[in-house]
């Protein structure tokens, strides 16, 4: 679905209060519509964990639970709860003349790192965005490169390698819309990249200059605090050396 494409998915009558429905939109893409009784929400149709259809899950009007491994999300935001390790990709919803339309948001608005921040700050951050597309095999940065930008994945797959190129070892990969990398751009005293970031497939991403992001967050400390808390858990999650306790 193109980013500004408004698509009709179903009629409001198709989705009862505290109910949900899987709808097929263009190109066979599926969207889950949930009715909380007051509002409609639209999310990716498959669980981000094991690709189980979320419409087969449990929904009580507030919390959506995938029946397979009990990952849960807040239906109002798509934010993960309990055991869930990833948010749901959401769509903006518009209701007109008894029909439900969805619009795909930008990867920045989708990003877990920036969820919940003020609309003004989000708009300012969106103003910094440069969108880029890269072919499979393209290198985005190498160890030793100077750290300027924060990256947000829109589509594709990015792999990270740490260590010198003659004995570099894989350090994970990113594949979800809204995933953030190159986060050194938001840290103090991290002037050089420590990993190589390579596109494993054709990828599109958003770049934001780190210093300008920090300046915007500084002017809105409540939002800045949220972002820094999320950033620290994000880093912990990728660096965690021990298993769950």
């Amino acid at each position: 679905m193109a980013s500004s494409n408004k698509t009709m998915v179903c009629r409001v009558a198709d989705v009862p209060a505290n109910g949900m429905k899987e709808c097929v939109v263009e190109c066979g893409q599926k969207v889950l519509i949930a009715n909380s009784g007051e509002n409609y929400f639209a999310y990716q149709a498959m669980c981000p964990h094991q690709e189980v259809p979320l419409c087969e899950g449990l929904y009580d009007g507030n919390v959506l639970t995938c029946h397979q491994h009990l990952w849960q999300w807040d239906i109002r935001t798509g934010a993960p709860m309990g055991l869930a390790e990833a948010p749901l990709e959401f769509y903006n919803v518009e209701v007109a003349d008894g029909a439900i339309y969805v619009v795909s948001p930008s990867a920045l608005n989708q990003s877990e790192l920036f969820t919940g921040i003020s609309e003004t700050t989000l708009a300012q951050l969106n103003g910094l965005v440069r969108r880029e597309e890269h072919d499979a095999g393209a290198t985005l940065y190498c160890p030793g490169d100077s750290v300027e930008d924060l990256y947000i994945l829109e589509s594709g797959r990015i792999e990270f390698l740490v260590g010198r190129s003659d004995h570099a070892s894989p350090a994970g990969f990113m594949l979800r819309k809204g995933e953030v990398f190159g986060w050194a751009a938001l840290l103090d005293n991290q002037p050089r990249r420590i990993a190589r970031a390579t596109c494993l497939e054709k990828s599109s991403l958003l770049r934001l200059p780190g210093k300008k992001v920090l300046a915007i967050l500084q002017a809105d400390p409540a939002s800045g605090y949220l972002v820094m808390r999320r950033l620290s858990s994000l880093i912990m999650r990728h660096l965690a050396a021990s298993g769950p306790t």
Binding site: H67, M81, F173, A241, S242, G243
Partner: protein, 347 residues
């Protein structure tokens, strides 16, 4: 064979033994690779082959329906590396927690078997070396005549166990189960890999326990309740065990359950739920200390536990429809948080 696993958060390298399933090689190296059934049905252990050769002895494994085979996806519980390989797993993979009992391969011998009902067997396997496991865990078993591993939960609980006790339900085309029921297999060699499974009980759980078992799912619950009794858990907390079967003819372990209930008559409540017949009038008098109720086990739990779901940790085991119905009830009616609902789907 050298194996490299590229996970979402990092990569791992380890050696696999000739013929060893990739999942077992990783777990043996204390890497928490994703899995649930470890026997080819759930699809949780899927990975993508980047390069190298693997052998897949069960190309029709039901878990393959979750795979994109044209993307090189395969089940780690079924496939063994045949060369150095590199694979990708699209989830976070962490090293095994320090308090987990690290799984490994055992050789064993069938020591004893006895019929619990017309279609349920008690089976004991003597191991070549002691095995440490947590209450509620299972092992994957393979017998020489029937290739392929099947998961069975331990009934007993003890540290450094030399004998593992299991419950085996007769299934129409259940490979290992059919083989066991066809003749006296005492003395037959078995291979085991384990312990496996995360639906475990630790004495540090400061909660009332709710155990829900359908049929042979009672096995792991016996282990959990035994361990909880050994640790005097019911000196401080309540325990509720619900055992769902079709009729009285299908119920077993009633003597053992009564002995457990008698240890804590005020705190440990054990109910047998009969789905297909009314409770016989003499059931309670023939089995003092046990309760009996009519209904599907999750319905009986919902009825009997109403108002008592506070501070509860639930364990669920049994046939998938029974487990699914129980989980739905626990979340929607019991309002339990997901971390208090523990189960391993492997039947």
């Amino acid at each position: 064979m050298r194996v490299q696993v590229k996970a979402r958060n990092r990569s791992y390298e380890f050696e696999s033994l000739p013929g060893e399933k990739l999942l077992f090689a990783g777990l043996r190296n204390e890497i928490e690779l994703p899995y649930e059934c470890a026997s080819g049905t759930c699809g949780t252990c899927k990975a993508k082959l980047l390069d190298g050769q693997i052998a897949d002895p069960w190309p029709h494994a039901p878990g393959r329906r979750y795979l994109k085979a044209d993307h090189g996806e395969f089940l780690m519980c079924q496939c063994a590396p045949q060369s150095d390989i590199r694979v990708e797993i699209a989830s976070f993979v962490n090293p095994m927690s320090a308090r987990a009992c690290p799984p490994r391969a055992f050789n064993g011998t069938i020591r004893k078997r006895g019929m619990l009902t017309h279609d349920v067997m008690a089976l004991e396997v003597a191991l070549d070396q002691p095995c440490d496991f947590d209450a509620g865990q299972f092992v994957a078993l393979e017998v020489a005549d029937v290739p392929g591993y099947r998961g069975y939960s331990m009934v007993n609980f003890e540290r450094l166990a030399r004998v593992l006790a299991f419950v085996v339900k007769k299934k129409p085309d259940g490979g290992v189960s059919e083989w066991l029921f066809r003749g006296d297999r005492t003395g037959a060699p078995v291979r085991a890999f384990g312990p496996l499974g995360r639906a475990t009980f630790f004495p540090g759980v400061e909660k009332n326990l709710l155990c829900i078992a359908g049929g042979s799912g009672i096995a792991g619950m016996m282990s959990i309740v035994s361990h909880a009794c050994q640790e005097k858990h019911f000196g401080r907390y309540h325990g509720y065990l619900f055992f769902g079967v079709r009729t009285m003819q299908d119920a077993f372990y009633l003597t053992e359950l009564r002995e457990l209930a008698q240890q804590y008559p005020d705190r440990l409540h054990i109910t047998v739920a009969l789905s297909d017949e009314d409770v016989p009038v003499d059931a309670a008098s023939r089995h003092p200390g046990l309760h009996f109720a009519r209904g599907l086990v999750h319905e009986v739990v919902a009825r009997e536990m109403r108002g008592r779901f506070d501070n509860v940790r639930a364990y669920v085991a049994g046939p998938p429809p029974c487990v699914d119905a129980a989980i739905r009830m626990l979340l929607l009616e019991g309002k339990l948080s997901t971390d208090n609902v523990r189960y391993d789907k492997f039947s």
